[in-house]
Symmetry: C2
Subunit: 190 residues, 2 copies
DNA sequence: GGGAAGTGTTGATATATATCAATGCCATTC
DNA sequence: GAATGGCATTGATATATATCAACACTTCCC
């Protein structure tokens, strides 16, 4: 249950067996069935989730009911609305299970105690945010600077395998185009 | 010269006088005249800059020579291409002084020693990345989910004062529209 | 002082992408 | 196994925004 987490932590920091045993105690396992929610808009996001199995995705909704996919999270990825998590303001996002999933939850009020208990986790979190930041910056640059077709091609190079697990209209939303447009782009490209 | 930095650090972490004296030693002051570069594309970004006076902005260029503004940084903001900084890959960004500026530079190879010397800085950096991340996420959501006019209005609410120090066509680029479109939006709105 | 460069505006037109609508295809479920 | 709902595709049309071009205004400098 914790092996994915352990592997991921050890990729970035060194931990003694004893330290990792302590780390584990700050997490709460949770299973989620497909279409169940980890977070609903207007709630405060009080937990970060480490995905040990399955997949989640987060999205916001427009006035007209359409959805905007913000992020996907598969095995060994983290998911949360960090904005709400840190500011404690109500989230504008939904976080939903794309597949039956197993999560390890870290509650906001357990974060500081964890960092005090195992200081190396401070480094891990910094690296985590670093990586999240640079991924987001690249995505923003692509969204602003590239056409829909170019964005699709970049996406395929990097995350093409996601098409096996994610419906196409969600990819479209993630890329910032309509499902129809993505369909036409795919036809064009092939 | 260091007072802006001290103020900013102490907003997020507690430091003894001795600790801050040590922190200072890791930074190199640097002045930049308007239009001078702190970073040019294809160079590796080896330094993070704390802006103690003036203003910087970063941008990428398209094949056609047009520019895409990624970020502005005024007094007490940080500026770098974090992607290049952490991966040590050549940057795709230019970082240029918008005004005559005074910077405090932290070189990449001084970061680890600093964090080892003053562990509270690890917390500071985590908070810095946290904030940078949530700001970026909000911007991405707005870029994908809102029309140009809505983006402009949000921008004005939050950062309207920037118009006093930044040419309008750079704001346009930051918002992801052409200068002509921004001009028309402003006329419309007023 | 006068040219040059940078800046913002306005108009005419072009284009990428959205929207609306219809169709077919699976997969699920009762 | 018929019915239902989610999903991808295709066509016709609409719309937001870009592009191209011209013009005025300021500011920078030689």
């Amino acid at each position: 249950m914790f092996s994915e987490l352990e592997k991921n932590l050890r990729q970035h920091i060194t931990l003694t067996t004893d330290e990792f045993d302590r780390v584990k105690r700050y997490f709460v396992p949770k299973k989620l069935r497909r279409k169940q929610f980890m977070l609903e808009a207007s709630d405060v996001c009080t937990r970060m989730a480490f995905v040990s199995k399955g997949a989640l995705f987060s999205y916001s909704t427009s006035e007209k009911g359409s959805i905007n996919v913000v992020q996907f999270a598969f095995e060994s990825w983290w998911m949360a609305d960090l904005y709400s998590f840190f500011t404690e303001e109500p989230s504008k996002l939904y976080i939903e299970a794309l597949e039956d999933s197993e999560l390890l939850l870290l509650k906001a009020d357990r974060l500081q105690p964890l960092l005090a208990d195992v200081p190396a986790m401070e480094t891990y979190l910094r690296i985590l945010y670093q990586n999240a930041y640079v991924a987001l910056q690249r995505r923003l640059e692509e969204t602003i600077g590239l056409t829909a077709e170019q964005r699709y091609l970049r996406f395929m190079e990097r995350d093409g395998r996601l098409l096996l697990r994610v419906p196409q209209h969600m990819i479209a939303s993630y890329l910032g185009v309509t499902p129809e447009t993505l369909s036409r782009i795919r036809k064009q490209v092939s």
